[in-house]
């Protein structure tokens, strides 16, 4: 079971450091007709910009080739005062940023008449980590907890020990709880390491109350363990239970939880579906507590939704558990 303790740590570190949507290295090439002073000025401006890597000067006929092979993401064509920026817009969201970076560098000679000052509240350096660390926490907890408990009941069914449990005088509630306890303790150790690492190594702030954060995380862990148990009582074999917990649940959690793609943008039907993804509520609440520093009163909606989900899953597992085998 060492892997259960080490895996979350490695994943959190990897994703916390490596996942980023900041665009900080745009490889570009230039086409130059004639080296006028203006062209030289623009070339130095592009060269000195930290976000842009000038890979070299190319011929005009090569423009399509270098873009197509993916060596550069943009080509700036400089001819008699005209600047034509050709972007590889395959990744449309990145090309918009690249286009506006390059335009603003090329424009820098002329003074902007309109001054605008901007403030990025809660995240002045625009770190992606503030967005991704809560997301990764939400993803790792729910999948690992569910994968741990999802075989517990179905394994008894496969090996035939389920009959023994069913005829024993122990109440189903105690059996279900007893199955959870060891995994719960394991998850608490995980929670401690994950929170310590995200605060001290990944520089996540804990602006809110620590006890609020802990209550929230413990609730989420219980919910995730319950989810695994519920799958376990429903599934017919270990294969199906593990497939559901590891493979089928992974995609909606990544895509519908607001970890990668903002939930506000979802089309109405998918928005409805995202309401039943527990990670969605957890990630939102963790962001509020860790980054924005809200107290319990600020996350009461998310917290109660998670509570209701936990109770529903618990009731569901006990009900299914009680059903006689065919």
């Amino acid at each position: 079971m060492m892997i259960v303790l080490i895996m979350p740590v490695i994943l959190l570190m990897l994703f916390g450091f490596a996942i980023s949507t900041e665009i900080n290295d745009i490889p570009i090439a230039v086409v130059v007709d004639e080296y006028t002073p203006e062209v030289r000025h623009d070339l130095t401006a592009l060269e000195n910009n930290p976000y842009i890597t000038l890979t070299g000067v190319i011929e005009e006929r090569d423009v399509d080739r270098v873009l197509r092979s993916g060596k550069v993401s943009a080509v700036v064509m400089m001819r008699d005062g005209q600047r034509n920026v050709v972007l590889d817009a395959a990744n449309s969201s990145m090309s918009v940023s690249a286009g506006s970076y390059i335009t603003s560098i090329l424009r820098s000679g002329t003074t902007m008449p309109l001054a605008v000052t901007t403030y990025m509240r809660h995240n002045p350096q625009l770190k992606s980590a503030y967005n991704f660390v809560p997301g990764v926490m939400g993803l790792i907890f729910i999948l690992i907890c569910a994968m741990m408990t999802c075989v517990s009941v179905v394994r008894e069914k496969e090996t035939g020990t389920m009959e023994v449990l069913l005829v024993s005088p122990i109440k189903p509630m105690y059996i279900v709880l007893a199955k959870m306890v060891p995994y719960f303790i394991l998850s608490l150790i995980n929670l401690a390491t994950i929170l310590l690492l995200s605060h001290f190594v990944l520089d996540m702030p804990i602006s809110g109350n620590l006890s609020t954060l802990l209550t929230l995380c413990v609730l989420y862990i219980i919910l995730s363990l319950m989810l695994g148990l519920f799958v376990s009582t429903m599934a017919q074999s270990q294969v199906v239970a593990l497939l559901i917990c590891a493979m089928v649940m992974m995609i909606p959690i990544i895509m519908l939880s607001g970890m990668m793609f903002p939930v506000e943008n979802l089309p109405p039907v998918l928005k409805q579906i995202s309401y039943i993804v527990p990670a969605r509520w957890f990630i939102e609440a963790v962001r509020k507590v860790m980054v924005e520093g809200l107290a319990m009163s600020g996350i009461i909606k998310e917290f109660s939704i998670l509570c209701v989900m936990t109770i529903a899953l618990f009731a569901g597992s006990i009900k299914k558990f009680n059903d006689r085998l065919e």
Binding site: L11, A18, I23, R68, A89, A90, S92, L114, M120, I254
Partner: protein, 376 residues
Amino acid sequence: MRSILPILMRKEITQFRRNKVLPRLVVMMPIMLVLIMPLVTQMDIKNISVVVLDDDRSLLSTRIESHLANSDYFRTPESAYDYNQAVELMDQGRVDLIVSIPAHFERDIRNGHGQPISLTANAVNATKGGQGIQYATQTIISAVTEIAAESGLSSYSASDLTGAASLITIQNRYNPTGNYRHFMLPALMIIVLLLVCTFLPLLNIMTEKEHGTIEQINVTPVSRWEFILAKLIPYWLLALLMIGLAMLLAWAVYGLVPAGNPLNIFLGAFLFSLCMSGFSVTIANISNTMQQAIFVLFFFVIQFMLLSGLFTPISSMPTWAQWLTYAFPPRYVINIFRSVYLKGTLLTELWFDYTMLTVLAAFFYTLATFTYKKQN
């Protein structure tokens, strides 16, 4: 011995068809991922809730306000008296962006000095905050230029603005409509392949292990290679079938057809399924229980999904992480799919990706035969 392979394969296919869940899963997955998930992948942010604090109350500031209200990106459901109240609304999550226009803004801008407009964004989600600021700045600039053009006042120095803009033209290639879904669709097809070619062979072998039937195979004269091939060939065919289905769906629903040769895509998909199935057989060989095997596989698959440039660009990662991705097969196949689909890149221009996939496939198969022991 010549004919043992087809017989073993027939056994695999029969077992697969007899399963209640698996065949449905295999049909449903590409449909779900290719039909529904592209709707989720929408990077430009709409419905940014903005509140305008107008201390100027001039023609210009009202114009800025109406431009913001009429923009597709913004909506103005809330109003606030002062900055503090607006910040409070932001903390409650009801406002994403505060635009505060200082008093005498229009007069000052005519004189060419004065306090700037201040924009405050909730940047907990860095992308959303940054994009909100970017759109708002563009909207404000367009409002200023419009007023300047109407009143014909050069003192706005708007001619500088428009003059500078007209010298720079921007041309978007390969995806002129800027449709982010077209960028994500090929990648979503990879997810189908990634999941099917790893989880299914792994669970198949682990079931044989847990039921003890693998020992019956081990005592037969079937060689290691025949056993592994018979297990995997059905999944390779399945992978190609699923990619075909996904490509048909992408064409029928989203109108996306490869700009390059579709055979290049199939070649990439085939090499990739070789890689991933070899990888999963290796994990199955070294694991004792099904749960353990799934944990190990999950550990790698989630890295493949999140670090291979599927959702976030590899170029944004720190250098050490970029080096790490060279060991990830999905990195190459994602590049192949996207390049061929959107840019029509030729096979020869992608030689590095195809070579790396072949090398990795060879590596994983060596590892798989090496770790598979017929005796304990």
